[in-house]
């Protein structure tokens, strides 16, 4: 996650996280305590971020899960977690997105780690318009937020097993897309979805697939401290 933000800062005149002084630790709110949320939260804790985690209801319901699986994270009501966060990671089941309150994350940077994957999760009307990628539809509904698509194309177990420090020859590449149109290349059925690729292989796979003039930028999301 560190590397992503730095890439973004390098790339844009206006950094996405403007208000954070270099001294203060970034606060991440992970929404979702299912398969994916706790894994992302744990990786973020290990990388030195301040992490809160929320499910759809009372934080008491996820207190034990948080204590055992994500020690160091704070279970919160979603609204509370989001309010204090610099970055929100959306890792809820996609079928619950239709009833997700968009005002909750207004003004926030939202990492969309979700996928529309009918063979696994069933058909959902909201995401059936195949002119648009799932993150484009998410961005349309969350129009007050800045959506970044990443962490969706790696399996949650690989997210743990595959963590490597910067510079490791077997470090796996992940795509980070702020152009959500281009981010469609990261979706299920695409060339990099679920694939374990080094940076050069990843770039080649994306280039071969896309006709966009500026494909999804490529970054290494794992922490520098990661092992």
């Amino acid at each position: 996650v560190t590397a992503d933000l730095e890439t973004r800062r390098d790339h844009r005149a206006r950094p996405l996280v403007e208000s954070v002084s270099p001294q203060r630790v970034l606060r991440i709110a992970v929404l979702g305590a299912g398969h994916v949320g706790p894994v992302i939260a744990r990786a973020a804790i290990t990388a030195g971020y301040q992490v809160s985690i929320a499910a759809s209801g009372d934080p008491e319901n996820i207190a034990l899960i948080t204590q055992v699986l994500v020690p160091g994270a704070e279970p919160r009501w979603a609204a509370d977690a989001v309010q204090k966060a610099d970055i929100v990671v959306l890792a809820i089941p996609l079928h619950k997105f239709a009833t997700f309150d968009s005002s909750q994350v207004a003004g926030k940077i939202v990492v969309d780690a979700m996928n529309y994957w009918p063979p696994i999760d069933g058909v959902q009307e909201l995401f059936e318009d195949r002119q648009f990628g799932s993150s484009e539809i998410v961005a349309h509904r969350l129009s007050g937020s800045t959506i970044v698509k990443t962490l969706n194309q790696i399996g949650y177990h690989d997210l743990e097993d595959g963590r490597r420090p910067v510079g490791s020859p077997d470090r796996r590449a992940l795509g980070v897309a702020d152009s959500l149109r281009a981010g469609r290349v990261l979706e299920p059925g695409g060339p990099v979805f679920g694939a374990s690729l080094r940076r050069a292989e990843f770039e080649a796979a994306v280039r071969a697939e896309t006709k966009w003039s500026s494909p999804a930028r490529i970054s290494h999301p794992h922490s520098r401290q990661g092992t």
């Binding site: 079928h95 069933g122 959902q124």
Partner: protein, 369 residues
């Protein structure tokens, strides 16, 4: 074991000691191949599974499980019927589902089928409830995958009620209400063992503890050791709900043959073909020789090799996960029946005794994480 140590729930050594070691086999009814590897019929596949279950009993396997599937490569929608045939020809081995897709089934019918199996087998039935990889049952029976959580939550709770053996009063959204309903056949010896199969959902782990079901960890890829926190979460949740400790099991795929090389040669092409076929819909990366070597090595999830290799890996992972049960999911679509029979024989006569020996020793080499 000191007082403070025994209070340390989730302590791996404590678990293995607390529950009897159970070493089983699971199949999904993988479509059989003939001696030349050509696919056989669904009917022959089912008859082969009966023979495999009978052999498992003869060679000392503790449990034989059949996972519900509804596809051409896994033609196995009626596991309980096949288990009944095995029950009629055996008298020792425990028999169960691995898994029953309860969300797209009726808990009352599942209870009735498995309590019938329990009667036929003289109390040897078990059930593992879960989603498995069998999502095809949802459209087949008219269920919406988006309702998965609600279906599973309601139906597991009703199943827990049915297991008590008392008349059931129940009301929910997913089936007709029951009022003081006596559900037959009654079991002779109390509730049969019931597990919840969990792939990666912490909420399912907590649900299993809340309902008093044992926990079966389905580990089909990546490092088994990363599931250790789930085992710990389960024991802590049981304590939180005021329940006594319950066993944790592990289900993983593999193949045993005489040598490591032979096992890999038999397993690899079928494994590659299966994952290639489902990769687009399931999001699995297509395996490479390199990824296969990792998965079959000490830190991966596949138990493919000689009896010694597989036994060492089972013993190490049971210890790392605080688990007392291991079910090897044997077979792959179009693997010849004779290779499966060899696998079962080696598992029963060599792997199981070796795992028991390894776990009886004081020092078990833990997986380095």
């Amino acid at each position: 074991v000191t007082t403070s140590r025994s209070a340390d729930v989730g302590d791996p050594a404590g678990h293995v000691a607390r529950f009897p070691l159970v070493l089983g086999l699971d199949t999904f009814g993988d479509l059989s191949g003939d001696a030349d590897g050509r696919p056989q019929s669904h009917a022959q596949t089912i008859r082969n599974v009966v023979e495999e279950g009978v052999l498992a009993d003869q060679v000392g396997v503790d449990f034989f499980g059949i996972g519900e599937h509804h596809t051409d490569e896994f033609p196995m929608p009626a596991a309980d019927v096949v288990l009944s045939a095995i029950a009629a020809r055996t008298n020792r081995i425990r028999l169960g589902s691995a898994v029953t897709v309860l969300s797209s089934d009726d808990p009352v019918r599942v209870f009735q089928r498995y309590s019938t199996l329990n009667a036929i087998s003289g109390g040897r039935a078990e059930v593992i409830l879960g989603r498995g990889s069998s999502i095809e049952s949802f459209p087949l029976f008219g269920f919406d995958l988006a309702d998965y959580e609600d279906l599973f939550e309601e139906k597991t709770a009703l199943f827990a009620d049915l297991l008590t053996g008392e008349p059931v009063t129940w009301k929910g959204k997913t089936r007709a209400s029951l009022r003081n309903q006596d559900v037959v056949p009654h079991t002779e010896f109390g509730p049969f063992p019931t597990w919840i199969g969990v792939g990666g959902s912490p909420q399912s782990v907590v649900r299993a503890a809340r309902l008093g079901f044992s926990l079966m960890l389905a580990i089909i890829g990546g490092s088994p050791a990363r599931f250790a926190p789930f085992s710990q979460l389960f024991q802590q949740a049981l304590e939180r709900f005021g329940r006594a400790p319950l066993p944790v099991g592990v289900h993983s795929p593999g193949h045993v043959s005489h040598t490591d090389e032979q096992a890999r040669e038999e397993f690899w092409p079928r494994y590659l073909e299966l994952i290639r076929r489902v990769s687009k819909t399931r999001g699995f990366a297509i395996p490479t020789k390199e990824s296969f070597a990792y998965e079959t090595g000490p830190r991966g999830a596949l138990y493919v090799g000689s009896p010694e290799t597989v036994a060492q890996k089972i013993a190490a992972n049971l210890t790392a996960l605080g688990a007392s049960r291991f079910d090897l999911k044997y077979g792959m679509p179009e693997l010849p029946h004779h290779a499966l029979m060899t696998n079962i024989e080696l598992y029963g006569t060599q792997v199981i005794p070796r795992v028991r020996e390894l776990l009886a020793q004081e020092a078990i080499p833990a997986l380095s994480v």
